[in-house]
Symmetry: none
Subunit: 199 residues, 4 copies
DNA sequence: GATGAATGAGTATTCATTCAT
DNA sequence: CATGAATGAATACTCATTCAT
């Protein structure tokens, strides 16, 4: 029941952080909308910032599990399309979190804090990595880079892997923005185009 | 000299709004960095919010002039590439403003305010439109849509203009994000790719 | 067993009140260190203030019994030295209580409350006084005054009893401060000097 | 005029800190009694704790100047009596500060902070020491110790300097307590006794 | 008896804004 | 124009106390 309350608070907070902004969302506001007292908030979370961090970590964890990357950390051509579709699904399901994240990363000092919280390590995609690993954002990035580099080996030097990687991230970033700030609707056609461009 | 002071204040404020966030930037901070007193700020701008709005309007105006769209508001195939390159240049030159804008638009109620400040009208791209017009963001959007719709006329029904338009905005949004949050560097290769994809 | 729990709570509370201060010591803190729940505290003590008062009364009672003043309430010359040594012992044994008391008396309104809780009465040192009497602090003071006044009768008018009483209390106050805020060690030499000065 | 306001605030705060206790004195209370707004307090002092520290430092400085120790840092027999009387005067004049100090030192962790703020150094009583020196409390202590040690040289080994020093500090501590917590009145007789005992 | 979730009044602190000089 | 002292409403956070279980 403690967990349920925490989840409730985090859900309410996330929604308001995402839509009205972290600074404009007051603790009173969250408490009122969660139907609890201000004081109780502090039984569960040490501070407003701690609440934010809990939300971020929980969401990153959820996303990690939902993405459910092959444990070998390699993306085959067939898996690539599945991967894109998983991202599409994830963006819809965690819309509020992504809004929050984009908002936070827009502040360059917060951006650094975030990078510190999820540090890149030498042992990227080590076999047997665990959900507790905090470097999974980087694991995913490496997996994608590897995908395009393998493609280069197949296609020869005319294929500019680095530019292709850049373009992929650019496209996915733009797709994410569209997805999280628009009211639902399916993105089937855009997904197909993206798959067509980068598969 | 009044204008110079105003410009100074706006420049300092924009930089801090963009990097530390609008809410975390205090008036004191801006005044100190601009080398003036807090009180004087209020001789030039009615409030913090008025300062923000001035910055946004000024920047939108500047961008409008720099984009320097053909007065007929039509984009030919040759002009399209030039247009993309202008956007690239504009993103670099107004990096701080774009950071601020992305940050603001992340808050859905602010997003609405922004849309109200730059209302879409029936008379889009009316001949003889003036810089004072507040609907120029929409003029640009319309110009792009027109470009792709004309392309459809040329290419036939196999060309899905709507999806193409979506993909173009998605790509440009992602490109913008990359550009404004990365340290300089040229984006020549990505520009070429984008031109290749959408020209 | 109720009494044991109460004693435990009071002991823990006294230690923290004395060292960290009454206001900085929270009920949660006490409960945690006493190994009980916050709620249970309120089964034993009505409020934080009630807990404080219980501690003070209990300690004053203990001290009263330990001082074990002759029931006739008179201090002979031989008893005087014993009395001083008893005080020394008592200061060491109730170090925390004395720290607390000094702290409380430093606040002048609390000082008044304290005086009200232990009211001076006309019938000081009435024969047959009971431990329940709340005026024993005054009984002790009277006993000391009497000691010096009897000394005056023996020594003649050249002996300024009032100043001597003042000096005695001054010296004992200073001695108490040294004793309760220093880490153990014996005060034998100082005791001898005090006895030498006032016996 | 800035200094006057700061002094006003510090005076009001000191009085309340001393009489009602630091924790029970609220910023609102201080502001109200100083006739200013809460916010203004924070123009002058960063925090409640900073205000406290300012008061302590200012008072220690004042006391240092008022004690006006011989620059050679040595106490002759004649100077000793003057020194005692200066202390008496200082206790009366800075009554509130001494109440506050006794109160603070009653909390053992605060006690440590205080000692750190006025660190003992090797170069005690270095010739030409300045008011800015933060080790003057120790300078005074050393001066007193030296006084008694010189007395021992004169009086021979039967004179127990260490116990004498202890007794002096004990007596002065007790005298201070009496002085600062009683309503005025002169302490002439006690002073004479103290001078008689230790000169 | 015992727990700890829940409350809410209270406190320090911040900051946009005003205004006398 | 220019200053910065002054205000006060708003906000995060604390903690003694209550009460359903």
């Amino acid at each position: 029941m403690r967990d349920e309350k925490m989840t409730l608070i985090m859900d309410v907070a996330l929604k308001h952080f995402a839509n009205e902004g972290y600074f404009r969302t007051t603790i009173s506001h969250i408490a009122r909308h969660a139907g609890i007292s201000k004081g109780l908030m502090y039984n569960y979370f040490e501070s407003k910032e701690a609440l934010l961090k809990s939300i971020v970590h929980k969401s990153v964890n959820e996303i990690y599990h939902n993405l459910d990357i092959d444990k070998d950390g390699t993306l085959s051509t067939e898996e690539f399309e599945i991967f894109i579709r998983k991202i599409d699904k994830m963006l819809k399901e965690n819309k509020y979190f992504w809004r929050l994240l984009f908002q936070l990363l827009a502040q360059i000092d917060v951006r650094e804090q975030f990078l510190n919280a999820f540090p890149e390590t030498d042992s990227l995609i080590h076999p047997g990595h665990e959900p507790g690993d905090t470097n999974y954002p980087w694991q995913i990035i490496k997996m994608i880079r590897d995908y395009f580099n393998r493609k280069k080996e197949a296609k020869g030097n005319s294929f500019d892997a680095e530019t292709e990687i850049d373009m992929f991230f650019i496209t996915m970033a733009g797709f994410a923005m569209k997805s999280i700030y628009s009211e639902a609707g399916d993105n089937e056609k855009e997904i197909n185009r993206i798959v067509g461009l980068f598969k």
